[in-house]
Each structure stands twice: as C-alpha cells, then as structure tokens.
Symmetry: C2
Subunit: 239 residues, 2 copies
C-alpha cells in the first residue's frame, strides 16, 4: 500500500500544441490545479499526456508554481491505439444522467456521441462543452488514447441521414437478440431512447433505417441500457 | 401522450401479508405517500403489487385518505417468473456508487448481492437496510417480480466458502474472454473489486476458487464494470 500511495499516477489529455520528445510545455488552470493541489505531485514526478494523435507521452515535472506546472516531454510510450468507430445516439436526458452516460460510454469505447431529440425526451437542451469535459475526464481515467466527439443535437427523424448502420434498443419486446442483430455489423450506431422509450410513430418510422435490438425482459434505466448495449457490441462486433 | 399521462402505472413491492383475490389491504407510510401524493392516483385506479412469490397482482384503489390507501386485490396477472440464480460479490464502495450498483444489478437480474471487504475497499461499512430499499425501488421500476437478497458483508478470503462458481473480473490483463470463461457455468457469482482493483495477494489467492474474466483493455469504474460483466453473463449463461 505504501508504494501504491507514493507512485504518482497522473494522466491528462493535452491538445494545445503538438508534442514531441524534448519539448517543454506549461499546464495551466484546472490541469495545473489537479497536478499540484489534488495529486500533490513534486518536481521529477512523471505525468502522462495523451494528445489523441500519437498516444501516451511520458513527461517529467520540471517546476511547479502558482501560475502553472512546467513539463518536459520525455518519450512516446507505446503505440497509439485508435478506438474503433462506434456511435452512440442518445436521447436528450437530464444532466445528471447524461453525465453518467457520457462517462460510461467513453469507458465502453464510443467514439461519437450524437444527442437526439425524441418525442419523450425529458429535456430539450444539452451543454456540449460540459459533455466534452466529462468525456475528457473519463478518457483520462479509463486509459483511452482518444476522446469521443460530442455532436450537436439532431432530431430523431434525421437519424436516417447518418452514415452509420443504426441499431435501436427497443423495449417493447420486438427487438432481436444481440447476437443476431449485431453479427457482422460495421460502422455501428446504437440508438437509445429516454425513460419512457420511443413513441409508436418513432418505432414505426425507424424501421426504414434501423435494426432493432432487445436488451431483455426487464425495463432498464437509460444508463444501464447504454452500458448493456455497448457490452453486447464489444462482444459481437469488436472482439 | 394524453392517454399515456392518464393511465396510472404504479407498481409496488408488498410482503406484509399474503395476497389473494378479493382481499383488502391498506398501504401506509412511504407507499401511501407515493400513490397519493407523487402519482396522484384516484379511487378506482389500478395498482400492481408484487410479493416475490406469486407474481403481479392487479389491485384497485377503494379509498384514499391521509392515513393510508385502501386496496382491493382483483386478480393475479401473469405467472411468476423467478429470476435465475445469479450472485454479485461487490467490494464495499462509497454509498453513492453502491446505490447505482444495487439499482443496476437489480435491473440486470442479480438475485443475491454479497458485499465484500477487500484490501483496497474505500469504505468498511454498508447500510444493508438502505441497500434493500434501493433494490426494492429498482425491482418496482424494472418490472422484476422479486427483489435481490442483500447479504451481510464478508471478507474477501471467505469467498471460497460460497457455493457459487465464482468468476472474478480482473483488470490486470490476465482474465479470459467472457465467452470462454462463462460458457456453461451455472449458479454463478461475479466478483467485482473496488476502484484500484484487487491486491496481488488477493489475485493470487483467488486462483484457488475463482475463474478470471477480462472486461477489456480500458479501466472501468465499478458501476460500469458491474453492468458490463452482467451483460456478458446474460449473453453467455442465461440467454
């Protein structure tokens, strides 16, 4: 346990400039606060930075001050592992639940989060900047090397224009088993509705552009449905 | 939408007396408050009660007062679907996360929740009464007909005495793929560690009594790991 506490494990997303061996940079604001005050790092401690392009860079802290944390980039450690394309089309939901969904979708390997306004959506707006921040935090913690893109909200009926092959999670009992509907699908988009599900009109209309997957006989809350659906995707499409 | 709002959809767990057609009972306390003040039900509205033994009973509200809600049991609607045995052994974690885990595990079909004290558990106590309440709420909402049992906490090394076949979710990269490790397992117990995972000693010791499953290359938070693991179980053992 002692060794566990001593070892500084800091991993941050950094895209303000391109990184290369030997270059220096200064972390500011929230990132400096996190390194200095939350993790209480000291000069010569290591910090990992990932830029979403090359992978994880090992950096060494050279100086810590109130104005920022000066780092020197040491080396690229390990190759960049691009997360395979996977879109989550998620109904607008209350911010607390959206925060869980963004975090968990990031952990489960979603590369694009597409907010969707549906008939039963309980809210009509989303703060995309906040969603991006939650996604960055989750990527930092789950050791992903990229951060999902958060798109602008689109209406449910515009989903048909997406290039992804869409699979809609249907709680009315009419969806097919995951193994059946997901097998062999590429460039996948999973569509998850709000509490209350999709309207009859939405379900009918979606038959023209989306397959339907069942998540079982129990009624799942949105966050559970997201992780369950993405687990089936990982199992049947990406493994 | 109008019809959707008019229709009262109330489903409650009730085990204070055994139910049968034609009998009357009075909901008190929180349940009465929920029916009367939250759902604003009226006399002659329907309420579903499930007792964990026979299934869902349709009841009709006869009278609503400050002291309680009087119901008459009409009929048993649909056969009892027992949830297949499935144990979740979960490290003690902070109450907020435990609340999510209990809810999501209930949605995903766990029948026994076994709290476990591990070396890196961030808390050392659990309020079992609260966990039971969260499980009841989740069962009511997800349309399960039974409520998971919440056990007293046990130490990690006592897990070997459980009768379940244990599969431990291992984030060190040494676990096997879900399809491989779960195939054909019955009376399953999934073991999930705290943030920070299991200690080396725990991992070594567990080899004597548990298989190891990988949940992928990313580091999952506890709630995500629980739903992902249970999704794989649903896919490979229970479907």
């Amino acid at each position: 346990m002692f060794q566990k506490k001593k070892q500084v494990k800091i991993r941050l997303h950094y895209n303000e400039m391109s990184l290369k061996e030997g270059c220096s940079l200064t972390l500011k604001g929230d990132q400096a606060h996190y390194v200095r005050d939350v993790m209480r790092a000291k000069p010569s401690d290591a910090v990992m930075l990932f830029d979403g392009t090359y992978g994880d860079w090992t950096c060494i802290i050279e100086e810590i001050s109130r104005s920022g944390v000066l780092l020197r980039v040491e080396a690229l450690s390990g190759e960049y592992m691009k997360t395979p394309d996977l879109t989550l089309c998620i109904s607008l939901i209350k911010p607390d639940t959206m925060r869980s969904v963004v975090r968990q979708a990031t952990e489960m390997g979603v590369t694009v989060i597409q907010p969707v306004l549906t008939e039963y959506s309980s809210v009509r707006n989303i703060n995309i900047q906040k969603c991006w921040k939650w996604a960055v935090e989750a990527a930092e913690q789950c050791c992903r090397q990229d951060v999902p893109v958060i798109k602008e909200t689109m209406g449910f009926y515009d989903l048909r224009d997406l290039e992804s092959q869409l699979i809609l999670c249907d709680e009315t009992g009419k969806g097919e088993a995951p193994a059946r509907v997901l097998c062999g699908v590429e460039n996948l988009g999973i569509v998850i509705g709000p509490e209350g599900g999709f309207s009859e009109k939405e379900l009918l209309y979606s038959e023209a552009f989306a397959g339907k997957m069942s998540l079982g006989s129990r009624v799942l809350r949105v966050d559970t449905a997201v992780v369950a659906a993405l687990s089936y995707v990982n199992e049947h499409c990406l493994s």
